[in-house]
Amino acid sequence: MARNLTQRFPAFKVSRSRVVRPGWALALVVLTVLSGCTDQAWNDPYRAGESAKSVFYSSFSERPKHFDPARSYSANEWAFISQVYEPPLQYHFLQRPYSLVPLTAADMPQIRFYAHDGTELDDQAPAADVAYTDYILRIQPGIRYQPHPALAVNADGSPVYWPLDVEQTRSVNTLADFPLTGTRELVAADYIYQIKRLAFSPNHSPVAGLMGGHIRGFEDFATESSAAYEQLRAKTGEAKPWLDLRTIDMAGVEEIDRYTYRIRIEKKYPQFVYWLAMNFFAPMPWEAERFYQQPGLDEKNVNLHWYPIGTGPFMLTENNPNLRMVLVRNPNFHGERYPGEGPPEAREEGLLDDAGRPMPFIDRAVYSLENEAIPRWNKFLQGYYDNSGIGSDSFDQAVQFGSGGEASLTESMIEKGVRLSTAVETSVFYTGFNMLDPVVGGGSERARLLRQAIAIAMDFEEFISIFQNGRGEVAQSPLPPGIFGYRDGEQGVNPVTHEWLNGVARRRGIEQARRLLEKAGYTGGRDPQTGGPLILYYDTPAAGPDSKATLQWYRKQLAKLGIELVIRATDYNRFQDKMLTGTAQIFSWGWNADYPDPENFFFLLYGPNAKVEFKGENAANFSNAEFDKLFVRMKDLPNGAERQAVIDRMVGILREESPWLFGFFPKAFSLHHAWYKNAKPHLMANNTLKYKRVEGPMRAAAQKAWNQPVLWPVGLVLGLLFVSLIPAIRDFRARERSRAL
């Protein structure tokens, strides 16, 4: 049993100063020394003096896997390689709607249409008459690659680092272990080489299937190159020998001269021009592939997946996806000037202050891995990241909504000079019905009315408010703002789910949904066959505790109609299986546009793209003869009145048939500090780092002001510890001096 401490160990007077004073002095000396050592903030995660330089600091949360432009198809990878690789075209940084302009191309491609007999057609020719289309691209002369060991040559022109054997590569661990580098001029043949790499099956390019249906000779090349590769493997005994793709021709690509090449597309495919702005069509010097496939390098991750090689404004000098990615200015960059024109508001926003100046403006970009949202957000508030998204946990700390629904920053953000940028994403988050399902799918009147009733009941205005912090716009069709065909205002309202009242779109009342349900034969949500509530199934891969509220919301929406929604939650793999086999009933999915064309959204509902039958992207397995016919017509039309009319009819069919609840278009909210300039969000382009500018001294001053170390609590705690030790020391000494027990 515990006894009173003072009874067991009688206290005696000890001069407190003998114990306390040395401890305080020591602590004070240590802290003074530490604080005087450097001007850098104690919690600065970067090296001293870096903050004042022209360096961009940001973060990434998902480790990139592939930097090979033939393979890479994720936004987190393109954030890096788009600063290194340069396809022939790019998006204008400031213009909206998004428009293409030349990048390495000297001008926009010449597009020529040809009939079956080879005669050239004009650009108004009907798509049915076009047998093939030529895209002729002329590259600017004088563009050079970044310094790279693969391009290092001896005095006689022979490569320095080829051929190498295993012994010579034994000591190599990173690309930096090759001390010599070289460069050469970009030529048209490099673009052709990359197109061949897309077709070469060991590269597993995700667009091989798509391009195989468009580029002439693509599939033949794939077959021929695969066979040649197997022969080479058998002959050399190597697992991954280098096959020189220049030795095999592809009928649809041709080098016209040193700076000009042609791509031949079957029939008409107007959307192909957008692919020319993607990294898949960036150039690849054949020397790089030969270099990287030497023995002993791939095992050390010295390959194209780790070390990209391009002509862009930056080069990737540190690739450590576990910690940090660093891009530095490419000394060989051909030079590009900041755009001199833009929309009227660009000048007011200061986005034309750098008009005509040579880019890039920053010397380095450092991206640190941050797995968790809390440290990422806190470091942004401390000024150690120049920009940041807004997580739902920190949303209220950063953003408030006015009475009119407009978003603005909170006082704490304004005090720090933080700026807010918003943009509706070129994405759609929808809820789909499996049109193969016997209850919700098919073309029967009953199923259609059921879908329409559910479309009214699903209150996505409420969903956006609750789960998206208001960051979204209810979708009235599959096309988001900024995509040709999108209609605004009263013209754009979905009459099935909304009505235009007093200048705004209002969701129809639940009574109207119930009437539709009654017409469908499900009065009060009752299944006439069982007499009980109609039971529908929502299949989802969202199974964690975070999803519980969302799933409960879905159930509540259908409960308004008296329908019972059963949630069938599985992991993502099983969900994918259900979608492929057609056993899902109702599901939610999203799509992020590859390019700003309505074809990239409507193809998600095109019959021959059905997921179950054709393994395509039409997850709802929607099939409507008129819609499909209109799709084929729409995709080849240029933007204009005719195309708009076709799109309007297609949207009308989708609204009537309701294979999707259109859901909402997410709205991206991003924050950046005052020292980070030209931060206009661009949701199609990924190569925007070159436009950004950082005022280093402003950042350094802000970081210093915001991150002064607070030492008094440490002193207080140490003092309390010392004080609390006094009775213990006294009692210890008393015990030591006491007689035997």
């Binding site: 515990a2 006894r3 009173n4 401490l5 067991r8 903030a41 104690w42 919690n43 995660p45 090296r47 480790r63 896997k65 592939h66 198809y73 994720s74 661990n173 099956s201 060991p202 597993h204 995700p206 667009v207 091989a208 299937g209 095992e299 050390k300 991750n301 390959n303 997946h305 450590n320 576990n322 910690l323 640190s368 891995l369 941050e370 797995n371 968790e372 809390i374 440290p375 806190n378 470091k379 401390q382 150690y384 992991d571 793999n573 994918q576 590859d594 393994k615 992207e617 991150n707 170390p709 607070v710 030492l711 609590p713 440490v714 213990a728 009692d731 210890f732 030591e736 035997a740 027990l741």
Partner: protein, 325 residues
């Protein structure tokens, strides 16, 4: 002793085979090679041909466990299990399913894990022993009572709370150290301080409680009473007699943990942005990279087996009465 060591090492083989088989079964119960291919190829425009090609390139186009299309031994050897497992026993971890060299990744990532784990272990050991000795010295007093209460309270708090609280208090409010991140070489020290403090503080409750129990067991023994009766001062009784005997179970507990320091702590590394082996493993699980998962499980099993062997040997050193047969 030599025979014992050899026997223990031979026991390791069936254990490792069993661990490997169990990992394989558990992984492929929830993931199929098609799922893995889709995960690596992305979610857009993935064709059946691309999936088959990926599986073929990575050796996942064979049957999982038994190949009924083959004859003889090939029924078992021409399978994913055999092909993926056999090289493990030669410590050839191969490449990850995303094409990275696993051995190279492990050799890079183990150092940050060790940089956190080793000082945390050593300082935590010193702190826990000190507090436990204090509580043993002031046993049966209010100091002891409230000390135990505090230890239980600290044990009850989730480690995640310490991490988030530590980051908020020390990194954000007091601005004393970076909230997260890492650097190489000597620059790493400021990133290690906070995870180390959090690790030590988080382990104080459980460690002190346990060590206190060990010390109290020794304190009531006859040899301690004899020492007191001979006039040995209390602090010498504790440090020279009690501590030395209580250190046997303490040290053997530490020795078994030593190899596992390489594996790192998942939560700590994830929140502090430490590029260690803990986050390496969980990233692999999330991305369904079986090559990394099997390598890390195998490595963990080997390290654990290797850790137990010195533990048993250290018993004989600490207590000469113990014999290993």
């Amino acid at each position: 002793m030599t025979a014992y060591i050899i026997r223990r090492l031979l026991y390791a083989l069936p254990i490792l085979i069993g661990v490997n088989a169990l990992t394989f079964v558990l992984f492929f119960v929830v993931n199929s090679p098609d799922d893995m291919a889709r995960m690596h190829l992305g979610s857009k425009r993935v064709t059946d041909e691309a999936i088959q090609s990926w599986k073929q390139d990575h050796g996942y186009d064979r049957p999982l466990l038994v190949n009924t299309a083959q004859q003889g031994a090939a029924v078992f050897t021409d399978t994913i299990l055999f092909e993926k497992s056999i090289r493990l026993f030669l410590f050839d971890f191969g490449q990850s399913d995303s094409g990275r060299d696993i051995s190279h990744d492990i050799s890079q990532r183990m150092w940050p894990s060790l940089a956190i784990a080793v000082p945390t272990l050593l300082i935590g050991l010193a702190v826990n022993i000190t507090f436990a000795l204090l509580l043993a010295f002031f046993r049966a007093t209010y100091l002891d009572f409230w000390g135990v209460v505090l230890c239980v309270a600290m044990m009850s708090i989730s480690g995640l709370f310490y991490i988030i609280g530590g980051q908020f208090l020390v990194g954000k409010v007091l601005n004393l150290v970076p909230i997260s991140g890492y650097d190489t070489g000597v620059h790493a020290w400021k990133f290690i301080v906070l995870p180390m403090i959090v690790g030590v503080v988080g382990g104080v409750g459980a460690g002190t409680r346990w060590y206190r129990t060990l010390f109290l067991e020794e304190v009531h023994r006859d040899y301690v009473r004899s020492a007191r009766a001979k006039g040995v001062s209390e602090h010498l009784v504790l440090f020279r007699h009690v501590l030395r005997n209580a250190l046997i179970p303490i040290l053997t507990g530490v020795v078994v943990v030593l190899p596992l320091l390489f594996i790192g702590s998942l939560l700590t590394e994830s929140f502090f942005g430490i590029p260690g082996l803990g986050s390496y493993t969980i990233d692999a699980i999330n991305s369904q990279d079986f090559a990394i998962v099997r390598a890390m499980v195998f490595l963990g099993a080997v390290l654990y087996i290797l850790g137990l062997l010195p533990t048993d040997i250290s018993y004989t050193i600490a207590d000469p009465r113990v014999r290993l047969d």
